[in-house]
């Protein structure tokens, strides 16, 4: 194929990918409804229902806070809030990635029966993850009330941070969802990757404990930046501008990559299922 027709084909693919996203946006009620059904599926036939999700997170934070606080010689009242915010944010990020892997595979019965916009399904994962994350708000609020001085208006800066994470969840879902549909041995690999990333990211440990060694583990780690833009405002510490810049750069690069990949292979998804 000549360069010119290659280019026009790419432009055509990109236009269709963009159209797919627009159509998905038009179907946001359906996406929200499907996400809500997914969440409710977890409550079904359990007595505690939604409380169960909240209680388990509270227990996890409490137990880890005490044990790791002791291990890392941290003062509980300063360590526990960090851990609480870090763990819940990591929970959001890692479910978006892990569930993103399965977004198209899990939607096989829909995609093979009706002409639905493909990007509906990563969007469903993002929405579902946010809904599950919302169950933690009570715990986070309790942590703030017990351990922290009352937050000022600055805490609201956590919201754009959260929005940026959701925006990134969408491109990640498009990319890993597509790749995992084609290569079925990928989801466990992505799982192990996220496991390693968890330990390399300051979630259960604090960056100060490194005493300046391995500084790149924090400053060159995209996960660390995304955690920082949400948790710093809540902890009432200023977010370094570099964290925001890094997070925005990752967003732009990620979306470019996702659009190229999605444009090229969008139509193949139903064939791969």
């Amino acid at each position: 194929m000549s360069d010119a027709s290659e280019e026009s084909r790419m432009r055509h693919d990109l236009r269709l990918a963009w159209l797919d996203l627009l159509m998905a946006a038009r179907r946001r009620h359906l996406i929200a409804h499907l996400a809500w059904l997914d969440v409710r599926q977890r409550y079904r036939r359990s007595v505690l229902g939604p409380i169960w999700l909240t209680v388990s997170v509270a227990f996890q934070i409490g137990a880890m806070g005490l044990v790791y606080g002791e291990l890392f010689h941290q003062d509980v009242s300063s360590y526990l809030p960090r851990l609480a915010f870090g763990l819940t944010m990591w929970g959001l990020i890692s479910t978006m990635v892990a569930d993103g892997c399965m977004c198209f595979i899990a939607a096989e019965s829909f995609l093979k029966q009706e002409a639905l916009p493909k990007s509906m399904f990563p969007a469903r994962v993002v929405m579902r993850s946010l809904m599950v994350f919302a169950h933690n708000l009570v715990v986070l609020l309790a942590v703030i009330v017990i351990f922290l001085p009352l937050p000022g208006w600055g805490a609201l800066l956590a919201l754009p941070g959260l929005a940026l994470i959701a925006i990134n969840g969408m491109w990640i879902g498009l990319v890993v969802g597509l790749l995992c549909t084609r290569f079925r041995d990928l989801p466990p690999i992505v799982g192990s990757f996220m496991q390693v990333a968890f330990f390399l990211t300051p979630v259960i440990w604090v960056p100060e404990a490194l005493h300046g060694k391995w500084w790149w583990l924090v400053s060159l780690n995209p996960f660390a930046s995304f955690l920082s833009i949400v948790t710093d405002p809540l902890l009432n510490v200023p977010t370094p501008v570099s964290r925001w810049l890094f997070a925005v750069a990752v967003t732009l690069v990620g979306w470019t990559l996702a659009m190229l990949l999605f444009g090229r292979f969008r139509a193949r998804i139903t064939y791969w299922l």
Binding site: L30, R184, Y271
Partner: protein, 247 residues
């Protein structure tokens, strides 16, 4: 005015075995030929080979052909589920398909909840779906069962519900894959009546079926498919004879 225009449409299905689905084999396979000759070769099924077809208002097309001839694939290409890997397809008109009426139903949700989801899936708004609710309720005759989760339904009840919702809209282009064999006698009669209303309201009808009576009743032309190729399009009786002669 509705139209369906297919030009040289090709659909190939890649058949992936465990090896070609695996990224590990893919990467090892790039290293050299030692890993096994089959690593790089995917088996491909030619489901549709260069199909050209044009349908306009008033066309009632029946698709005949043996199992695996490509009838369902062709219907799915028309419905926009599979985008052809070569050739082009243009569809004008609101399209609805009755292929799997119980698709996407959530067993843990109630009948009412499923009606709303299905409606949204078909492109209706929540309000639009609710405006069809009385019609759906009376057609299914499920009464209070609609408040119960679907896992308590029998297969026949599921079918009633799915059929009622799927047929609540009158599409301009109607696509039907095999006439739905519907539950008990009284329901089968009702379903047939409802289907007749839908088929006569549609501008274009495309049906895949093995039943000669159905085809004679609904269609004004038939297309014979063989091994993914469009052998002939013509009058109903003529094509049926040819198909039956083929055996």
């Amino acid at each position: 005015m509705s139209r369906i225009e297919l030009t040289d449409v090709v659909v190939d299905f890649p058949i992936y075995d465990g090896r070609s689905r695996s990224l590990r084999h893919r990467i090892l396979g790039l290293g050299g030929g030692r890993i096994g000759a089959s690593a790089g070769h995917n088996v491909v099924v030619h489901a549709l080979r260069s199909i050209s077809l044009s349908l306009a208002d008033g066309d009632r097309l029946g698709l005949v052909g043996r199992n695996g001839a490509g009838k369902s694939t062709l219907l799915r290409v028309m419905a926009g589920i599979y985008e052809p890997i070569a050739g082009r397809i243009a569809v004008t008109g609101r399209l609805g398909s009755l292929t799997n009426v119980t698709m996407g139903m959530d067993m843990e949700s109630s009948g009412y909840e499923n009606i709303v989801v299905r409606g949204l899936m078909m492109g209706m708004s929540r309000r639009e779906t609710l405006s069809h609710l009385t019609d759906i309720e009376s057609f299914t005759e499920l009464g209070d069962h609609l408040n119960l989760p679907l896992r308590t339904y029998s297969a026949g009840m599921l079918l009633r519900l799915g059929f009622a919702v799927s047929t609540s809209l009158e599409p301009e282009i109607l696509i039907i894959d095999e006439m739905i064999a519907a539950g008990d006698r009284s329901f089968a009669d009702k379903a047939a009546k409802r289907l007749d209303r839908l088929t006569s309201a549609a501008h274009i009808l495309v049906v895949a079926s093995h039943a000669p009576e159905t085809l004679k009743r609904l269609c004004n032309k038939l297309a014979l498919l063989r091994d993914g190729q469009l052998v002939e399009v013509g009058p109903v009786t003529e094509i049926l004879q040819r198909y039956e002669a083929e055996g």
